[in-house]
């Protein structure tokens, strides 16, 4: 699977999950294992509350490769908002190791800084955006290897 395919599948599943009543959704098939969890209860779209956070765990279930251990697919951190992306300081770059959950950037929308967090420790595998760039809903921002 290409990264694009993964992103598309994650989006579709995350969307179905978001509008569902489920607290946790696990999908497994030959080439993808995916688990969706709510970080807080879903309160409904029309209430004016921000959309629920969705934690995404992606794991390849392909037979072990040469190294003898499955290579993990990175987490894709996407934008829930339309706005302008600003990196948090100190700025993370590819290869950066995150000790813990931290704020990677924020999406500035209507004068409000909406933090984008790493959702745990890991290694920054890719940065898809640049500082000051307009981003849309669902746009991939960072890839994090756990």
């Amino acid at each position: 699977m290409t990264d694009d395919t993964i992103v598309a599948r994650v989006r579709a599943l995350a969307e179905a999950f978001t509008v569902s009543e489920l607290a946790r959704l696990t999908v497994k098939n030959s080439d993808l294992e995916l688990e969706l969890r709510r970080s807080r209860p879903y309160v409904g779209a029309s209430s004016g509350a921000p959309p629920p956070d969705v934690a995404v765990v992606l794991e390849s279930t392909n037979p072990p490769g040469g190294a003898g251990v499955p290579k993990r697919k990175p987490d894709i951190v996407t934008s829930d908002l339309v706005g302008v992306l600003r990196f948090s300081r100190p700025q993370v770059n590819e290869g950066h190791r995150l000790e813990d959950d931290r704020e990677l950037a924020f999406v500035e929308a209507l004068g409000i800084r909406n933090p984008v967090r790493s959702r745990g420790p890991g290694r920054v595998a890719a940065v898809f955006v640049s500082d000051g760039q307009p981003v849309e809903y669902g746009q991939p921002l960072f890839a994090i290897e756990r």
Partner: protein, 457 residues
């Protein structure tokens, strides 16, 4: 004129608005939800931003993301289309607070017309005829007096009513007392609330509406009436036409004058529609829609006016370029809504993939759509996939043209309203013109169900 307009909508109306912007030389920003990524409005716009997933609450009703999109794209105005946020006064206000022009009337007018009771009160004060109705009636004697004064027939209605419970038609004063007692008992039993009020019964009404448009300098014109009496049992419009057929010239004049007077009374700006019930020569105001309507193309075709362009022009602060004296309808126009739904199964919506899509062409045919072959109809939104609109020199010519155009239309993969509407157009009653709102549900559909041997909707 604006530099860039954000279109806060999807579907055919988003495409429609983009076309108006392009013809005015204004850049466009589309918004879309994930499943609408391949829609024509995304392709035709200069820029497009995904604002959320399929469910409308998180995308097309997502005010923060929509306003943010307008701001980061540098738009200076927002066109809301119809539905979604089009009649949301709060959205109009937020847009204005962020320095964006909302293409529509003022938030105050949207709010007052959006509340049916307020709207009726304002219109009554402006001298617009509304359905006569009483306050809560204390006793059968008081009720009898009110009814006699109103004139029979009347409708006794439960304030807590719904689904026809606690409702009685009274056509003769001698039957009033009995009907009142029955209604009261039924209301008590159904809702534990026996309070009743009385309304004038409008007999066999037609749904006739009048298009108006006003500028910021007090000019307001009407663009004639539309007959929208062909409605699904859910009262969604299905076939509309302009001008209204088989309607008394005096009534038409009264409708036009009333609409303009009503518009003036609320200092209306931008495009709006006054909906009336018409029964014989009586005219009753129902509500005012403070937005562009689905069926605006029939008016555009007979008046040769691009209503969406006019909306944008007056919102940009231009004086209305239309003079009432120069506005005359030419010929006759009919619109048919092509919905992805099964008319012979209660108009059940049909989501799915459009395997084949072919639209009609040639003289006097207009197609407004956002779909192409291969498009997927997502389950989140309304089921309309296209509007076929025709113009002819005469009403008979327009009906023949629509029949021809629907014959050329091919949608495969989902059930549609094409065949049903074609049959309606061929019916004797439609051809004669002037059917009442209830005709489709009460007369046509049962007859059709019998003929097809299927259960009525």
């Amino acid at each position: 004129m604006f530099k860039k307009i954000l279109i806060a909508n999807r579907g055919e109306i988003a495409v429609r608005i983009i076309r108006a912007c392009q013809e005015l030389g204004v850049a466009t920003v589309a918004i879309f939800s994930d499943p609408d990524r391949a829609s024509l409005h995304v392709r035709h716009a200069d820029e497009a931003f995904c604002v959320g997933p399929g469910p409308v609450g998180r995308s097309y009703l997502n005010i923060p993301n929509i306003i943010s999109t307008a701001l980061i794209s540098g738009a200076d105005a927002i066109h809301p289309g119809y539905g979604f946020l089009a009649e949301n006064a709060r959205f109009a206000e937020i847009a204005q607070d962020h320095g964006l022009t909302f293409i529509g009337p003022s938030p105050a007018v949207i709010a007052s017309m959006g509340d049916k009771a307020t709207a009726k009160r304002i219109m009554k004060a402006a001298g617009v005829p509304i359905t006569p109705g009483s306050d809560i009636v204390a006793s059968v004697d008081e009720g009898q007096k009110i009814a006699e004064k109103m004139g029979f027939p009347v409708l006794i209605k439960a304030t807590a009513g719904g689904g026809g419970k606690g409702m009685r038609e009274v056509h003769d004063g001698r039957d009033f007392a009995t009907a009142f007692a029955t209604a009261q008992a039924e209301a008590e039993a159904s809702f534990k609330d026996g309070r009743l009020y009385i309304e004038k019964l409008i007999i066999a009404p037609r749904h006739i509406e009048v298009q108006v448009i006003g500028d910021n300098f007090g000019s307001i014109v009407h663009l004639g009436e539309r007959d929208c009496s062909i409605q699904k049992p859910s009262h969604q419009k299905l076939i509309e036409e302009a001008p209204a057929p088989a309607l008394d010239a005096g009534v038409i004049k009264k409708l036009h004058a009333t609409a303009v007077a009503a518009g003036r009374a609320v200092k209306y700006t931008n495009a709006g529609t006054l909906e009336f019930l018409v029964s014989g020569t009586d005219v009753y105001f129902m509500e005012m829609n403070t937005r562009i309507q689905v069926e605006h193309p029939v008016t555009e075709m007979v008046y040769g006016v691009d209503i969406v362009q006019e909306q944008i022009r007056v919102a940009a602060g231009e004086a209305l370029g239309l003079r009432q004296k120069e506005l005359h309808p030419v010929g006759h126009a009919i619109e048919v809504r092509i919905n992805a739904e099964d008319p012979d199964a209660g108009f059940a919506p049909a989501a799915g993939t459009l395997n084949a899509v072919e639209f009609p062409g040639g003289p006097g045919v207009r197609v407004d759509t956002h779909v192409v072959a291969g498009a997927v109809i997502p389950p989140y939104y309304d089921s309309m996939i296209a509007k076929i609109v025709v113009h002819g020199r005469t009403r008979a010519g327009a009906i023949a043209r629509m029949d021809r155009a629907l014959g050329e239309t091919r949608i495969e993969g989902v059930k549609t309203t094409i065949g049903f509407c074609r049959d309606v157009l061929r019916s004797e009653e439609f051809r004669r013109g002037g059917v009442r709102v209830e005709w489709l549900k009460a007369d046509y559909m049962p007859r059709r169900a019998d003929a097809l041997g299927v259960g009525a909707a």
